[in-house]
Symmetry: C2
Subunit: 216 residues, 2 copies
């Protein structure tokens, strides 16, 4: 797949070797996460709000929980930064200075617009649902026209995009390798635990297959 073109604003300047601009990397990070942090400004004050998202090709749909505050003041489109971060491990060096984190992140810059068309909204909701749990959409009750009206969805093209990736062990200063300090990586992983059925269940079937061995 082709690369995104780094711009003055998306080029990774600090530790440039961590920068990635290829669609494979960007897509794989966006597809592995399901919570993004949306940044926008109102009256000069930045806000950063966590919300769900879904991806379709070079388009990102954002759930509207972040949108309410934005939409009170902006209707024509709002400049946003959308960041997805996956933490893969703690990098423990022999010096405090060289401690680090293994992570994968994507930063998207651009102007989000409100989705008003019902069909596009429905498609965005399908993406949110399938993004979090593949197979779920076909089982649940789909949104009514009224629910669609009550849902705010923003759409943002993937144009100005960059990823940053850190992998591997600690890099210590040469003399520090002799220090008697444990060094290495403590890998971190988000795992699913035993599903907790709704106590109010009536006709609920057994835990569906797509939830077994679920990995976010």
């Amino acid at each position: 797949m082709s690369d995104f073109t780094p711009t003055e604003r998306t080029q990774v300047k600090r530790l440039p070797k961590r920068g990635r601009y290829d669609r494979d990397t960007v897509y794989s990070i966006l597809d592995a996460g399901f919570v993004c942090h949306v940044g926008f400004s109102v009256d000069g004050q930045p806000y950063v709000i966590p919300t769900n998202y879904g991806r379709s090709g070079d388009t990102i749909y954002l759930h509207g929980s972040a949108a309410s505050r934005m939409l009170r003041t902006l209707s024509e489109g709002v400049r946003v930064s959308v960041t997805v971060t996956l933490v893969d491990g703690l990098v423990l060096a022999r010096s405090a200075f060289h401690h680090s984190v293994n992570y994968r992140s994507v930063v998207i810059l651009g102007t989000a617009r409100l989705v008003e068309d019902s069909a596009e909204k429905l498609e965005a909701l399908r993406l949110f649902t399938e993004h979090v749990m593949k197979g779920r959409w076909d089982e649940v009750r789909w949104p009514t026209e009224q629910e669609l009206k009550a849902t705010t969805v923003l759409v943002l093209p993937l144009e100005e995009v960059s990823a940053k990736v850190r992998t591997g062990g600690p890099i210590d200063d040469e003399p520090d390798y002799a220090l008697p300090v444990w060094a290495g990586v403590l890998p971190l992983e988000t795992v699913a635990k035993e599903p907790v059925p709704d106590p109010q269940r009536k006709n609920d079937p057994a835990v569906p297959n797509y939830m077994k061995n679920y990995r976010p």
Copy 2:
């Protein structure tokens, strides 16, 4: 402990019952996470950057990886939004519309300033290290004066702060409870896996006790 005072900007307006302003809740979320998302604007474009942080009372220290871009244009203090989000589970309802996420988040608004004093910087680095892994600071080599100079730290008071918390199972519309759809919560947890020692180790001791049964 006393509450933070909600302001026009921090009061949770959408789903206000999820809003929390007490220090116990805010502190416990900040102390359980270790990656925050910092939002700031440069030339009208918001940026959201993940970085590490540490807390001391009503003060948050931010690691400077986020600061470089800010500091190119701003030196007097920069308006930021700092958000910490912990995802606790997927909330699976019988309708697509009522799907949700159990989470705990804190949003801090304010003006961050650069830490220039060496002693305060050192204390911030101690907080970062101990925040990620309690017990680590006393074992590692501490920063030299030169390393402190090469480290950018921002400090931000906890003044305009709010938390949002969602817990519990799905809330479906009454008729939907009869649908044959599995509903409930799939709890998610971040866990540590087996430590991976640095292949370049020389005098490294065994895995320290503070890493065993580590829970982020």
